[in-house]
């Protein structure tokens, strides 16, 4: 079976503390339920600056500005042991500041939903004009802005939501319909932020792969937002909307949803389309989730630590046919959490880790690194959710013990050797395995890893349609090129027949 090259990848963060403060679900519901509480005052007074976010080690790892091995030995708590320097750009992408991100949201708005205050729009235009990925075509989409009184009126009289920068109104997001909740200003704000993040990741991917936007054939989007109206709340299609802004005129696309398992399912959907020959290439991408900003901030404020969940996460991966020059995604050993598999942790771990390995005759020892839920532990531990990545490695190790492939006393060493530290924001779909693809492919190219497994898990029960969860997984290995992986091609058969005929001919002629 054909394997699929992972040709490129990009990872970006959008540092958006003020979007989080006003529209993250935890502070938003606090404000609407209880008003301006001490928690909200504490949150507003302790936001991290852009510079602090850039110097936060996990953020640098996410954008490829720091190596995972260095993060593993970095002193904790990392928010008290920040890097001395935190560049905006890493080898995988960038950390975009909030003012530029609001400008990007306006660039991505084709329905005049985002209004920027004219002075702010002018400043943002000057800042984005310096960005090497923002072409004249893209910059032409940025509006000149509106006078502040117009924006104030839109907010006070027409249901628009204010957008803030440095505590002042920098613009607003208008509603798309008078009574349709799916087109409320709040929903559209979330969708436009997700779209903008995806566009940023796509622009970085195009740059790093050297492709022109018109080279992209297909886009699969896998965030956790729903684009639609009251007649089809999740109608879609983010993918085409994103491709349009990036100038991918030859691309089409669709969206994949499965909560946090969305990205791994989308990678499989993209890879199988490439493997079958249906598409010459597929970009899998996602933007971030505004509602999840400051999700655990109540515990962070209570424990007098900075509210760290102030970044939206974005990623994009380019898949195309294996030519031997890139790491590949195997499509013959995919993990699937079936309906009947059961919901206990061991049933899920068996389905996603053990069974795909067994299918191709491998054991736990044959995988150098496993990547499942990669949340930053110092965000989740104070909220009572534990060190999620380490819990996953322990589960895999425990299953290996149960299957007789590991001794119980070897579990700690297994966890240390085969795990990676968490470095992704609590953005649901973003931490679910996929942030490791970039680092894993770099390590495979350098010969440091021979095989890694990416695992996604999703809490489907949150939608109240089923009590089931979901999961999917795949393996990444060094590329070998077509025909070099043990498959028999037509050429192989032709060559073998010729060899036999020549031997026969020699025998006959003596």
């Amino acid at each position: 079976m054909a394997h699929v090259a992972i040709r490129g990848y990009s990872y970006c963060l959008n540092h958006t503390p003020e979007l989080g403060l006003h529209y993250g679900n935890t502070p938003y519901t606090e404000l609407t339920s209880h008003g301006e509480t001490e928690f909200l005052k504490g949150l507003a007074g302790n936001l991290q600056s852009y510079g602090e976010a850039c110097c936060y080690p996990p953020n640098q790892v996410f954008i490829g500005g720091m190596e995972l091995d260095d993060l593993a030995v970095h002193p904790s708590p990392m928010y008290r042991n920040r890097l001395k320097e935190g560049p905006r750009f890493g080898k995988f992408g960038e950390i975009m500041p909030e003012n530029e991100f609001l400008g990007l949201m306006d660039i991505c708005d084709v329905f005049d939903l985002i209004w920027l205050e004219e002075g702010f729009a002018s400043d943002v235009s000057a800042a984005l004009a310096k960005h090497h990925l923002f072409s004249d075509r893209i910059m032409a989409r940025l509006e000149k802005g509106h006078p502040l009184p117009e924006i104030d009126e839109e907010i006070s009289r027409h249901g628009a939501l204010p957008l803030y920068f440095h505590g002042k109104i920098a613009g607003c997001c208008r509603k798309g319909h008078d009574i349709d909740e799916s087109l409320s200003a709040h929903v559209l704000l979330e969708n436009l932020a997700s779209k903008a993040g995806s566009v940023l990741a796509l622009l970085h991917l195009l740059e790093s792969t050297g492709l022109s936007p018109s080279d992209i054939d297909y886009v699969i989007e896998c965030s956790e937002e729903a684009a639609g109206d009251m007649n089809q709340r999740g109608g879609g299609n983010f993918a085409k909307a994103i491709a349009e802004i990036a100038g991918c005129v030859n691309a089409s696309g669709f969206d994949v949803r499965s909560f946090c398992a969305g990205p791994v399912n989308a990678m499989i959907a993209g890879a199988t389309q490439v493997a079958s020959g249906a598409r010459p290439n597929v970009v899998v991408l996602a933007g971030g989730a505004v509602p999840k900003l400051f999700m655990n901030s109540r515990d962070h404020i209570k424990k007098e630590m900075p509210p760290l969940e102030d970044c939206l996460g974005n990623f994009a991966v380019l898949l195309d046919p294996d030519d031997g020059s890139c790491p590949v995604m195997r499509v013959d050993a995919l993990g699937k959490h079936s309906v009947g598999a059961g919901s206990s942790p061991q049933a899920i771990t068996s389905a996603l880790v053990l069974e795909p390995l067994q299918k191709i005759g491998l054991s736990f020892a044959d995988v150098d690194k496993f990547a499942a839920e990669l949340q930053i532990p110092e965000i989740t531990v104070p909220a009572g959710a534990g060190d999620v990545p380490t819990s996953n490695y322990k589960m895999i190790a425990a299953l290996a013990v149960m299957k007789g492939q590991l001794k119980k006393e070897e579990m700690p060493a297994f966890v240390e050797q085969k795990g990676i530290p968490g470095f992704a924001h609590t953005q649901g779909h973003i931490p679910s395995g996929v942030p490791f693809i970039g680092h894993a492919c770099e390590a495979i190219r350098e010969g440091r890893y021979g095989r890694v497994m990416i695992i996604g898990k999703g809490s489907l029960f949150l939608a109240r349609l089923t009590n089931l969860s979901d999961g999917a997984s795949f393996l990444i290995e060094p590329g070998a090129g077509p025909g070099l992986r043990g498959e028999i091609t037509k050429d192989d058969v032709r060559e073998a027949i010729l060899e036999v005929l020549m031997d026969l001919s020699k025998g006959l002629t003596g």
Partner: protein, 109 residues
């Protein structure tokens, strides 16, 4: 504990009586387990949900406490729970929930 689950626990206590309800926790983290246990005994410590200021005092146990383990079918335990016994700090979890129950609980098994 999220607001919906708090409401479900409150509704069940209203419907069946707090003395007839047992809450079994499967948290992976002792600190989290303590918060959940406190929520169903002394009320929501974050004062955000329906159990804020509602001290139900329910009989709350961690699944790894002996009383619950003894109630479980051994083969089901092996199939569903045994792997997590190797992963989690079961003693810390059981101790955390027992401590909260003894402090705030009004009922036991």
């Amino acid at each position: 504990m999220d607001l919906q689950n708090q409401q479900r626990v409150k509704d069940a206590a209203d419907k069946f009586g707090a003395e007839n309800l047992v809450v079994i926790l499967g948290s992976s983290d002792a600190e989290g387990a303590e918060i959940y246990a406190e929520t169903v005994t002394n009320g929501d410590p974050t004062f955000a949900g329906p159990l804020a200021g509602v001290p139900l005092g329910l009989a709350v146990y961690d699944i790894f406490e002996q009383e619950i383990r003894e109630e479980a079918d051994a083969s089901i335990w092996e199939e569903q729970i045994s792997m997590m016994e190797m992963v989690l700090d079961t003693e810390a979890l059981a101790k955390a929930v027992k401590g909260v129950r003894e402090q705030y609980g009004k009922y036991t098994l």
